[in-house]
Protein backbone atom coordinates (compact mmCIF):
# COMPACT_ATOMS: atom_id res chain seq x y z
CA UNK A 1 0.00 0.00 0.00
CA UNK A 2 1.47 3.33 -0.98
CA UNK A 3 1.58 6.32 1.32
CA UNK A 4 -0.95 8.98 0.37
CA UNK A 5 -0.06 12.58 1.18
CA UNK A 6 -0.84 16.08 0.07
CA UNK A 7 2.69 17.24 0.82
CA UNK A 8 5.29 17.09 -1.92
CA UNK A 9 7.85 18.10 0.71
CA UNK A 10 7.09 15.04 2.82
CA UNK A 11 7.20 12.84 -0.27
CA UNK A 12 10.80 13.75 -1.14
CA UNK A 13 12.11 14.25 2.40
CA UNK A 14 13.99 10.94 2.50
CA UNK A 15 15.94 11.40 -0.73
CA UNK A 16 19.63 11.42 0.23
CA UNK A 17 22.55 13.23 -1.33
CA UNK A 18 24.06 11.17 -4.11
CA UNK A 19 20.82 9.47 -5.12
CA UNK A 20 19.99 8.45 -8.68
CA UNK A 21 16.57 9.79 -9.65
CA UNK A 22 14.44 9.11 -12.69
CA UNK A 23 12.35 12.18 -13.47
CA UNK A 24 9.39 11.80 -15.80
CA UNK A 25 8.19 14.13 -18.48
CA UNK A 26 8.91 15.10 -22.05
CA UNK A 27 9.19 18.85 -22.13
CA UNK A 28 6.53 20.09 -19.75
CA UNK A 29 4.09 17.26 -20.46
CA UNK A 30 4.25 14.81 -17.59
CA UNK A 31 6.95 16.71 -15.76
CA UNK A 32 6.41 16.36 -11.98
CA UNK A 33 6.95 20.05 -11.34
CA UNK A 34 5.76 20.12 -7.73
CA UNK A 35 7.97 17.16 -6.80
CA UNK A 36 11.01 18.73 -8.45
CA UNK A 37 10.39 22.01 -6.64
CA UNK A 38 10.05 20.12 -3.37
CA UNK A 39 13.34 18.36 -4.10
CA UNK A 40 14.96 21.73 -4.71
CA UNK A 41 13.67 23.01 -1.35
CA UNK A 42 14.70 19.76 0.33
CA UNK A 43 18.29 20.43 -0.65
CA UNK A 44 19.58 17.00 -1.71
CA UNK A 45 22.68 17.38 -3.84
CA UNK A 46 25.21 15.35 -5.83
CA UNK A 47 22.29 13.80 -7.67
CA UNK A 48 22.31 11.72 -10.84
CA UNK A 49 19.19 12.60 -12.80
CA UNK A 50 17.69 10.64 -15.69
CA UNK A 51 15.27 12.64 -17.84
CA UNK A 52 14.75 13.07 -21.55
CA UNK A 53 16.00 16.65 -21.40
CA UNK A 54 18.26 18.76 -19.22
CA UNK A 55 15.72 21.35 -18.18
CA UNK A 56 13.90 24.16 -19.92
CA UNK A 57 13.73 27.78 -18.83
CA UNK A 58 14.30 28.58 -15.18
CA UNK A 59 11.95 26.23 -13.34
CA UNK A 60 11.65 22.56 -12.48
CA UNK A 61 14.61 20.45 -13.57
CA UNK A 62 16.37 23.52 -14.98
CA UNK A 63 16.28 25.16 -11.54
CA UNK A 64 17.59 21.97 -9.90
CA UNK A 65 20.51 21.97 -12.33
CA UNK A 66 21.02 25.71 -11.98
CA UNK A 67 21.25 25.33 -8.21
CA UNK A 68 24.15 22.91 -8.66
CA UNK A 69 22.35 19.92 -7.20
CA UNK A 70 22.89 17.63 -10.18
CA UNK A 71 26.26 15.95 -10.56
CA UNK A 72 25.36 13.96 -13.66
CA UNK A 73 22.51 13.93 -16.12
CA UNK A 74 21.53 10.99 -18.32
CA UNK A 75 19.37 12.24 -21.20
CA UNK A 76 18.80 12.26 -24.94
CA UNK A 77 18.33 15.94 -25.69
CA UNK A 78 20.10 18.36 -23.37
CA UNK A 79 20.61 21.26 -25.76
CA UNK A 80 17.53 23.36 -26.44
CA UNK A 81 16.81 27.00 -27.06
CA UNK A 82 16.03 27.49 -23.38
CA UNK A 83 18.45 25.07 -21.73
CA UNK A 84 20.75 27.89 -20.65
CA UNK A 85 21.11 26.73 -17.04
CA UNK A 86 22.37 23.33 -18.16
CA UNK A 87 24.50 24.82 -20.95
CA UNK A 88 26.38 27.12 -18.58
CA UNK A 89 27.24 24.39 -16.12
CA UNK A 90 28.14 21.93 -18.87
CA UNK A 91 30.53 24.35 -20.56
CA UNK A 92 32.06 25.09 -17.18
CA UNK A 93 32.65 21.37 -16.62
CA UNK A 94 30.37 21.37 -13.58
CA UNK A 95 27.95 18.67 -14.74
CA UNK A 96 28.57 15.29 -16.31
CA UNK A 97 26.49 14.29 -19.34
CA UNK A 98 25.64 10.77 -20.50
CA UNK A 99 23.96 11.19 -23.86
CA UNK A 100 21.66 8.30 -24.83
CA UNK A 101 19.44 7.94 -27.91
CA UNK A 102 15.87 8.45 -26.72
CA UNK A 103 14.65 4.96 -27.55
CA UNK A 104 17.66 3.35 -25.91
CA UNK A 105 17.01 5.52 -22.85
CA UNK A 106 13.41 4.30 -22.73
CA UNK A 107 14.38 0.66 -23.31
CA UNK A 108 17.15 0.77 -20.68
CA UNK A 109 14.65 2.05 -18.11
CA UNK A 110 12.12 -0.56 -19.18
CA UNK A 111 14.80 -3.28 -18.93
CA UNK A 112 15.58 -2.29 -15.35
CA UNK A 113 11.93 -2.56 -14.39
CA UNK A 114 11.50 -5.90 -16.16
CA UNK A 115 14.64 -7.57 -14.76
CA UNK A 116 16.50 -7.74 -18.08
CA UNK A 117 20.28 -7.69 -17.56
CA UNK A 118 21.10 -6.14 -20.92
CA UNK A 119 19.84 -6.08 -24.50
CA UNK A 120 21.07 -5.72 -28.05
CA UNK A 121 19.66 -2.66 -29.82
CA UNK A 122 20.29 -1.59 -33.41
CA UNK A 123 19.99 2.08 -32.44
CA UNK A 124 23.32 3.87 -32.34
CA UNK A 125 25.27 1.05 -33.98
CA UNK A 126 28.26 2.48 -35.83
CA UNK A 127 27.91 5.91 -34.22
CA UNK A 128 29.82 7.94 -31.63
CA UNK A 129 27.26 6.95 -29.00
CA UNK A 130 28.22 3.30 -29.31
CA UNK A 131 31.93 3.90 -28.88
CA UNK A 132 33.42 1.60 -26.28
CA UNK A 133 30.28 -0.51 -26.12
CA UNK A 134 30.05 -4.19 -26.99
CA UNK A 135 28.57 -4.78 -30.44
CA UNK A 136 27.42 -7.85 -32.28
CA UNK A 137 26.17 -8.78 -35.73
CA UNK A 138 22.86 -10.64 -35.49
CA UNK A 139 21.29 -11.93 -38.71
CA UNK A 140 23.48 -9.56 -40.68
CA UNK A 141 22.58 -6.45 -38.73
CA UNK A 142 24.71 -4.53 -36.24
CA UNK A 143 23.56 -4.22 -32.62
CA UNK A 144 24.91 -2.52 -29.50
CA UNK A 145 24.65 -4.03 -26.02
CA UNK A 146 22.92 -1.63 -23.64
CA UNK A 147 22.48 -2.01 -19.90
CA UNK A 148 19.50 -1.31 -17.64
CA UNK A 149 19.13 2.06 -15.90
CA UNK A 150 17.97 1.49 -12.34
CA UNK A 151 17.42 4.16 -9.73
CA UNK A 152 16.65 4.55 -6.06
CA UNK A 153 13.91 7.04 -6.83
CA UNK A 154 11.47 7.92 -9.58
CA UNK A 155 9.55 11.19 -9.54
CA UNK A 156 6.69 11.09 -11.99
CA UNK A 157 3.36 12.78 -12.73
CA UNK A 158 0.14 10.95 -13.52
CA UNK A 159 -3.44 12.03 -13.94
CA UNK A 160 -5.50 9.89 -11.58
CA UNK A 161 -4.60 7.50 -8.78
CA UNK A 162 -6.55 5.31 -6.44
CA UNK A 163 -5.22 4.73 -2.90
CA UNK A 164 -3.69 1.41 -4.04
CA UNK A 165 -1.45 3.35 -6.41
CA UNK A 166 -3.12 2.33 -9.66
CA UNK A 167 -2.46 5.13 -12.13
CA UNK A 168 -3.83 6.53 -15.36
CA UNK A 169 -2.19 9.22 -17.45
CA UNK A 170 -3.45 11.79 -19.90
CA UNK A 171 -2.51 12.02 -23.58
CA UNK A 172 1.20 12.50 -24.34
CA UNK A 173 1.89 13.28 -20.68
CA UNK A 174 2.10 9.49 -20.29
CA UNK A 175 5.57 9.35 -21.92
CA UNK A 176 8.25 8.11 -19.47
CA UNK A 177 6.06 7.76 -16.37
CA UNK A 178 4.95 4.14 -16.74
CA UNK A 179 8.43 2.76 -17.41
CA UNK A 180 10.15 4.90 -14.78
CA UNK A 181 7.65 3.71 -12.17
CA UNK A 182 8.89 0.15 -12.76
CA UNK A 183 12.61 0.93 -12.59
CA UNK A 184 12.98 2.66 -9.23
CA UNK A 185 13.11 1.25 -5.72
CA UNK A 186 10.91 4.13 -4.54
CA UNK A 187 8.39 5.61 -6.93
CA UNK A 188 6.81 8.91 -5.97
CA UNK A 189 3.95 10.12 -8.13
CA UNK A 190 2.11 13.43 -8.15
CA UNK A 191 -1.44 13.22 -9.42
CA UNK A 192 -4.22 15.61 -10.27
CA UNK A 193 -6.83 13.61 -8.47
CA UNK A 194 -7.35 10.59 -6.27
CA UNK A 195 -10.44 8.43 -6.57
CA UNK A 196 -11.67 5.64 -4.27
CA UNK A 197 -10.50 2.07 -4.81
CA UNK A 198 -12.63 0.42 -7.46
CA UNK A 199 -13.29 3.57 -9.45
CA UNK A 200 -10.51 3.03 -11.96
CA UNK A 201 -11.58 0.35 -14.42
CA UNK A 202 -9.03 -2.51 -14.11
CA UNK A 203 -8.81 -2.60 -17.92
CA UNK A 204 -7.51 0.97 -18.17
CA UNK A 205 -4.93 0.99 -15.39
CA UNK A 206 -1.60 1.90 -17.02
CA UNK A 207 0.63 1.64 -13.95
CA UNK A 208 -0.51 -1.02 -11.45
CA UNK A 209 -0.18 0.01 -7.81
CA UNK A 210 2.61 -2.51 -7.20
CA UNK A 211 5.01 0.03 -8.72
CA UNK A 212 3.95 3.01 -6.59
CA UNK A 213 5.25 3.92 -3.13
CA UNK A 214 4.08 7.48 -2.48
CA UNK A 215 1.12 9.33 -4.00
CA UNK A 216 1.06 13.12 -3.72
CA UNK A 217 -2.49 14.31 -4.19
CA UNK A 218 -2.17 17.76 -5.73
CA UNK A 219 -5.91 18.18 -5.84
CA UNK A 220 -5.96 17.39 -2.14
CA UNK A 221 -9.17 15.47 -2.20
CA UNK A 222 -7.82 13.28 0.56
CA UNK A 223 -8.04 9.53 0.88
CA UNK A 224 -11.12 8.16 -0.70
CA UNK A 225 -12.89 11.49 -0.98
CA UNK A 226 -12.07 12.05 -4.61
CA UNK A 227 -14.64 11.63 -7.29
CA UNK A 228 -13.88 10.48 -10.79
CA UNK A 229 -13.82 13.52 -12.98
CA UNK A 230 -13.51 12.10 -16.46
CA UNK A 231 -13.32 9.20 -18.80
CA UNK A 232 -10.02 7.83 -17.58
CA UNK A 233 -11.64 6.45 -14.50
CA UNK A 234 -14.84 5.30 -16.11
CA UNK A 235 -15.83 1.75 -16.73
CA UNK A 236 -18.06 -0.86 -15.36
CA UNK A 237 -16.59 -0.98 -11.89
CA UNK A 238 -17.54 2.62 -11.26
CA UNK A 239 -20.65 2.67 -13.40
Amino acid sequence: MPTLTTSAADAVAQIPDGATILIGGFGKAGQPVELIEALLDHGASDLTVVNNNAGNGEHGLAALIGAGRVRKIVCSFPRQSDSQLFDERFRAGLIELELVPQGNLAERIRAAGAGIGGFFTPTGYGTLLAEGKETRMIDGRGYVLESPIRAEYALIAAHTADPLGNLTYRKTARNFGPIMATAATHTIVQVSNVVPVGQIDPEVVVTPGIFVDVIVDLHQTGLGNGVPTDAYTSGKVSA
Binding site: L164, P208, G209
Partner: protein, 214 residues
Amino acid sequence: MSERLTRDRLAEIIAADIPSGSFVNLGIGQPTLVSNYFSSDQKVTLHTENGMLGMGPVAVGDEIDEDLINAGKIPITELPGASYFHHGDSFGIMRGGHLDICVLGAFQVSATGDLANWHTGDPGAIPAVGGAMDLATGAKEIFVMMNLFTKTGESKLVPACTYPLTGIGCVTRVYTDVAIFEILSAGVRVRETYGMEFTELQSRVDVPLLPPEN
Protein backbone atom coordinates in the same frame (compact mmCIF):
# COMPACT_ATOMS: atom_id res chain seq x y z
CA MET B 1 4.84 -31.86 21.06
CA SER B 2 2.39 -30.67 18.43
CA GLU B 3 1.11 -32.89 15.65
CA ARG B 4 2.16 -33.05 12.05
CA LEU B 5 0.58 -30.22 10.11
CA THR B 6 -2.31 -30.76 7.78
CA ARG B 7 -2.13 -28.96 4.47
CA ASP B 8 -4.70 -26.47 5.65
CA ARG B 9 -2.88 -25.76 8.89
CA LEU B 10 0.34 -25.33 6.91
CA ALA B 11 -1.42 -22.91 4.56
CA GLU B 12 -2.66 -20.99 7.60
CA ILE B 13 0.86 -20.68 9.01
CA ILE B 14 2.26 -19.47 5.67
CA ALA B 15 -0.54 -16.92 5.34
CA ALA B 16 0.23 -15.59 8.81
CA ASP B 17 3.93 -15.27 7.90
CA ILE B 18 3.21 -13.02 4.94
CA PRO B 19 3.64 -9.37 5.93
CA SER B 20 0.72 -7.01 5.58
CA GLY B 21 0.60 -5.22 2.24
CA SER B 22 2.62 -7.86 0.37
CA PHE B 23 2.30 -8.65 -3.32
CA VAL B 24 2.17 -12.42 -3.60
CA ASN B 25 1.99 -15.09 -6.27
CA LEU B 26 0.69 -18.50 -5.23
CA GLY B 27 1.81 -21.40 -7.39
CA ILE B 28 -0.61 -23.92 -8.85
CA GLY B 29 -1.79 -26.70 -6.53
CA GLN B 30 -1.17 -26.78 -2.77
CA PRO B 31 0.02 -23.15 -2.51
CA THR B 32 -3.38 -21.85 -3.63
CA LEU B 33 -4.73 -23.02 -0.26
CA VAL B 34 -2.82 -20.15 1.34
CA SER B 35 -5.28 -17.63 -0.08
CA ASN B 36 -8.01 -19.03 2.17
CA TYR B 37 -6.18 -17.82 5.25
CA PHE B 38 -5.33 -14.19 4.63
CA SER B 39 -7.07 -11.86 7.04
CA SER B 40 -8.98 -8.98 5.49
CA ASP B 41 -6.79 -6.35 7.18
CA GLN B 42 -3.66 -8.09 5.87
CA LYS B 43 -4.17 -6.37 2.51
CA VAL B 44 -2.30 -8.96 0.50
CA THR B 45 -2.52 -8.42 -3.27
CA LEU B 46 -2.44 -11.57 -5.38
CA HIS B 47 -0.73 -11.65 -8.76
CA THR B 48 -1.56 -14.22 -11.38
CA GLU B 49 1.07 -14.48 -14.11
CA ASN B 50 -1.50 -14.63 -16.89
CA GLY B 51 -2.00 -10.91 -16.49
CA MET B 52 -3.66 -9.63 -13.32
CA LEU B 53 -3.04 -8.06 -9.95
CA GLY B 54 -5.88 -8.06 -7.43
CA MET B 55 -7.09 -11.59 -8.02
CA GLY B 56 -10.08 -12.55 -5.87
CA PRO B 57 -11.43 -15.92 -4.76
CA VAL B 58 -12.38 -18.74 -7.10
CA ALA B 59 -15.52 -17.88 -9.09
CA VAL B 60 -18.69 -19.83 -8.38
CA GLY B 61 -21.97 -20.00 -10.23
CA ASP B 62 -22.83 -16.85 -12.10
CA GLU B 63 -19.44 -15.34 -11.31
CA ILE B 64 -17.74 -17.70 -13.77
CA ASP B 65 -16.38 -15.81 -16.77
CA GLU B 66 -14.20 -17.68 -19.25
CA ASP B 67 -12.10 -14.55 -19.81
CA LEU B 68 -11.15 -14.42 -16.13
CA ILE B 69 -8.96 -17.32 -15.05
CA ASN B 70 -5.84 -17.85 -12.99
CA ALA B 71 -2.56 -19.49 -13.96
CA GLY B 72 -4.08 -22.89 -13.16
CA LYS B 73 -6.89 -22.02 -15.63
CA ILE B 74 -9.47 -21.98 -12.84
CA PRO B 75 -12.19 -19.29 -13.11
CA ILE B 76 -11.56 -16.59 -10.52
CA THR B 77 -12.95 -13.22 -9.51
CA GLU B 78 -11.65 -9.67 -9.54
CA LEU B 79 -11.26 -7.50 -6.44
CA PRO B 80 -11.75 -3.73 -6.37
CA GLY B 81 -8.46 -2.08 -7.33
CA ALA B 82 -7.45 -4.90 -9.67
CA SER B 83 -5.55 -4.33 -12.91
CA TYR B 84 -4.98 -6.29 -16.11
CA PHE B 85 -1.88 -6.34 -18.30
CA HIS B 86 -0.37 -8.47 -21.04
CA HIS B 87 2.03 -11.38 -20.59
CA GLY B 88 5.10 -9.27 -21.35
CA ASP B 89 4.27 -6.83 -18.59
CA SER B 90 3.11 -9.56 -16.23
CA PHE B 91 6.40 -11.41 -16.38
CA GLY B 92 8.21 -8.08 -16.17
CA ILE B 93 6.55 -7.68 -12.77
CA MET B 94 7.99 -11.03 -11.75
CA ARG B 95 11.41 -10.89 -13.37
CA GLY B 96 11.87 -7.29 -12.24
CA GLY B 97 11.66 -8.34 -8.59
CA HIS B 98 8.44 -6.54 -7.76
CA LEU B 99 6.67 -9.45 -6.09
CA ASP B 100 7.44 -9.83 -2.40
CA ILE B 101 6.75 -13.51 -2.02
CA CYS B 102 6.00 -16.47 -4.19
CA VAL B 103 4.76 -19.71 -2.66
CA LEU B 104 5.62 -22.79 -4.73
CA GLY B 105 5.44 -26.54 -4.49
CA ALA B 106 8.63 -28.57 -4.93
CA PHE B 107 10.04 -31.98 -5.72
CA GLN B 108 13.27 -31.07 -3.96
CA VAL B 109 14.94 -28.12 -2.25
CA SER B 110 18.69 -28.08 -1.63
CA ALA B 111 20.51 -26.89 1.47
CA THR B 112 21.48 -23.74 -0.42
CA GLY B 113 17.99 -22.99 -1.66
CA ASP B 114 18.12 -24.52 -5.12
CA LEU B 115 14.65 -25.47 -6.27
CA ALA B 116 13.54 -28.44 -8.37
CA ASN B 117 9.85 -28.44 -9.13
CA TRP B 118 9.23 -28.72 -12.86
CA HIS B 119 10.59 -32.02 -14.11
CA THR B 120 11.33 -35.39 -12.60
CA GLY B 121 14.03 -36.00 -15.19
CA ASP B 122 12.23 -39.21 -16.14
CA PRO B 123 13.18 -39.79 -19.78
CA GLY B 124 9.60 -40.83 -20.55
CA ALA B 125 8.08 -37.66 -19.13
CA ILE B 126 6.93 -34.81 -21.33
CA PRO B 127 8.50 -31.75 -19.74
CA ALA B 128 6.38 -28.67 -19.00
CA VAL B 129 7.82 -25.65 -17.25
CA GLY B 130 5.15 -22.94 -17.50
CA GLY B 131 6.03 -19.98 -15.32
CA ALA B 132 7.90 -21.98 -12.68
CA MET B 133 11.38 -20.72 -13.57
CA ASP B 134 10.18 -17.14 -13.88
CA LEU B 135 8.53 -17.29 -10.47
CA ALA B 136 11.55 -18.94 -8.87
CA THR B 137 13.89 -16.33 -10.29
CA GLY B 138 11.78 -13.24 -9.91
CA ALA B 139 10.16 -12.93 -6.49
CA LYS B 140 12.09 -11.36 -3.61
CA GLU B 141 11.42 -14.43 -1.48
CA ILE B 142 10.42 -17.95 -2.43
CA PHE B 143 8.52 -19.98 0.13
CA VAL B 144 8.26 -23.66 -0.69
CA MET B 145 5.24 -25.61 0.57
CA MET B 146 5.54 -29.39 0.44
CA ASN B 147 5.48 -32.63 2.38
CA LEU B 148 8.97 -33.16 3.75
CA PHE B 149 9.14 -36.81 2.80
CA THR B 150 8.33 -38.71 -0.35
CA LYS B 151 5.94 -41.64 -0.21
CA THR B 152 8.94 -43.88 0.26
CA GLY B 153 10.20 -41.79 3.17
CA GLU B 154 13.05 -39.90 1.55
CA SER B 155 13.64 -36.28 2.49
CA LYS B 156 12.88 -33.72 -0.21
CA LEU B 157 15.23 -31.29 1.56
CA VAL B 158 18.51 -32.53 0.12
CA PRO B 159 22.22 -31.66 0.06
CA ALA B 160 21.94 -31.08 -3.69
CA CYS B 161 18.97 -31.56 -6.01
CA THR B 162 19.04 -34.66 -8.17
CA TYR B 163 16.05 -33.56 -10.22
CA PRO B 164 16.54 -30.88 -12.90
CA LEU B 165 16.70 -27.41 -11.36
CA THR B 166 14.07 -24.72 -11.61
CA GLY B 167 16.19 -22.00 -10.03
CA ILE B 168 19.44 -21.61 -8.14
CA GLY B 169 19.65 -20.42 -4.53
CA CYS B 170 16.19 -18.89 -4.69
CA VAL B 171 14.30 -20.57 -1.84
CA THR B 172 14.29 -18.69 1.47
CA ARG B 173 11.89 -20.82 3.50
CA VAL B 174 10.56 -24.35 3.32
CA TYR B 175 7.20 -25.08 4.92
CA THR B 176 6.52 -28.78 5.44
CA ASP B 177 4.20 -31.00 7.41
CA VAL B 178 6.89 -31.82 9.99
CA ALA B 179 9.06 -28.70 10.13
CA ILE B 180 9.56 -25.19 8.92
CA PHE B 181 13.06 -24.41 7.62
CA GLU B 182 14.82 -21.13 6.95
CA ILE B 183 17.55 -21.20 4.31
CA LEU B 184 20.21 -18.86 5.66
CA SER B 185 23.73 -18.10 4.52
CA ALA B 186 24.85 -19.80 7.76
CA GLY B 187 22.93 -22.94 6.88
CA VAL B 188 19.45 -24.38 7.24
CA ARG B 189 17.74 -23.42 10.48
CA VAL B 190 14.74 -25.31 11.78
CA ARG B 191 12.19 -22.80 12.99
CA GLU B 192 9.78 -25.30 14.48
CA THR B 193 8.98 -28.99 14.28
CA TYR B 194 5.58 -30.68 14.23
CA GLY B 195 5.02 -34.23 15.35
CA MET B 196 8.75 -34.94 15.39
CA GLU B 197 11.63 -33.96 17.67
CA PHE B 198 14.58 -32.06 16.20
CA THR B 199 16.87 -35.06 16.78
CA GLU B 200 14.64 -37.40 14.83
CA LEU B 201 14.20 -34.80 12.10
CA GLN B 202 17.97 -34.45 11.76
CA SER B 203 18.35 -38.21 11.57
CA ARG B 204 16.01 -38.36 8.60
CA VAL B 205 17.28 -35.32 6.68
CA ASP B 206 20.71 -35.54 5.06
CA VAL B 207 21.39 -31.82 5.49
CA PRO B 208 23.06 -30.36 8.60
CA LEU B 209 20.29 -28.52 10.47
CA LEU B 210 20.56 -25.64 12.92
CA PRO B 211 18.18 -26.23 15.86
CA PRO B 212 15.29 -23.88 16.65
CA GLU B 213 16.29 -20.72 18.51
CA ASN B 214 14.65 -20.25 21.86
